[in-house]
Point group: C2
Amino acid sequence: MRVQKPSRRSRLTVENILAESARLFNRRGYHGTSLTDIARAFGVTKAALYYHVKSKEDIVFRCYQRVLDLGMEGLDHAHAQAASPEEELTLALRYYIKGLTDQWSGAVVLLGERALSPRQHARILRRRDEYERRIRDIIRKGITAGVFMPYDPQLVGFAILGAVNWILKWYNPGGERSAKEIAEVLSSYLVRGLQTHPSDRTEAGISPSRNQRTQYALNAPGDA
Amino acid sequence: MRVQKPSRRSRLTVENILAESARLFNRRGYHGTSLTDIARAFGVTKAALYYHVKSKEDIVFRCYQRVLDLGMEGLDHAHAQAASPEEELTLALRYYIKGLTDQWSGAVVLLGERALSPRQHARILRRRDEYERRIRDIIRKGITAGVFMPYDPQLVGFAILGAVNWILKWYNPGGERSAKEIAEVLSSYLVRGLQTHPSDRTEAGISPSRNQRTQYALNAPGDA
């Protein structure tokens, strides 16, 4: 995860093209990155790229789909595992953050530019709205259950997504902190801000049994 | 604040050019916005713009300076007013958020593009680093005082700035929520996530006397 230029990168596959393109888009912006820049990263010509992808628009559309796939998978996974709204939000965020910090995920979020066709744009917006709605639903469920403070779910939902999506602006895969550490700290902090009765620990409140951490459960029975 | 196209906008001044440009940059990206687009918003030619600004680079550089001015002013103001690290962080964020949501501020943050010259870029980065360092210092002070949880100040600092800067992605000056409401909710939620002993209210914990809310102090003595 922390190796910057692994040999895997040089193999010209759709997966690797999306990952490399996302890295460039996130750093230089969509219009600041050309197909030539992307080809150069693999030491090939643009013609070789066209064998795998249709256009730069095609690449960025798939990168946007990736980040939404990640978000939705995290929500499904969390919904199936969690025993409470607190756990559900924590697990969903943790999954999403781990995906964003995986340098092979090909995820982009911060491109405020007119990169997509109106039809593609509408598809991405529809899924993004669905993702945001599901985050708000968990927050609302927590408020109803009395475990979350009655903050405006839309405002807090935006704050959470901003905090998480911002990771692509500062995350350095070769840096000091592991993806796991970032996911733990951020999900714990962001859920804590909502909790009516937060615990006195900085770790996220996941039931040990549901987190395959049974070995700790014996030592820390209150860790839930 | 909620009027979308006030007459003020049509006056061709440096302030208005920066505000209009920031709005366009934040929505379409730097490379997705031309000087012609900016001129069109005022119903003038590019030549008329050149009387007030040197170039698109000059405009975006000033927009970046604006957002950093806002951040620093918020920190200075908070430092002078606050009685605790919790108050200091709350006041600094509230000031910054109010500035970001002021449609005349001309602030930009989300442009990951190579818009600036290396020398301008270095100047902006130096000030941005200074701003982030000061946010972390408040978090550290709170941890030392025992009022904040021992989260990694750098990670939580990034989360806070992401949550706040993301506002420019979704904020609609003509929308349902006032700038004041957004500033109150977000600053309260983001500080609460750090607090060892958060209050049972969703309002931010500012001493009434320091917030010119003395009329409420009598009714709500615990509101601190």
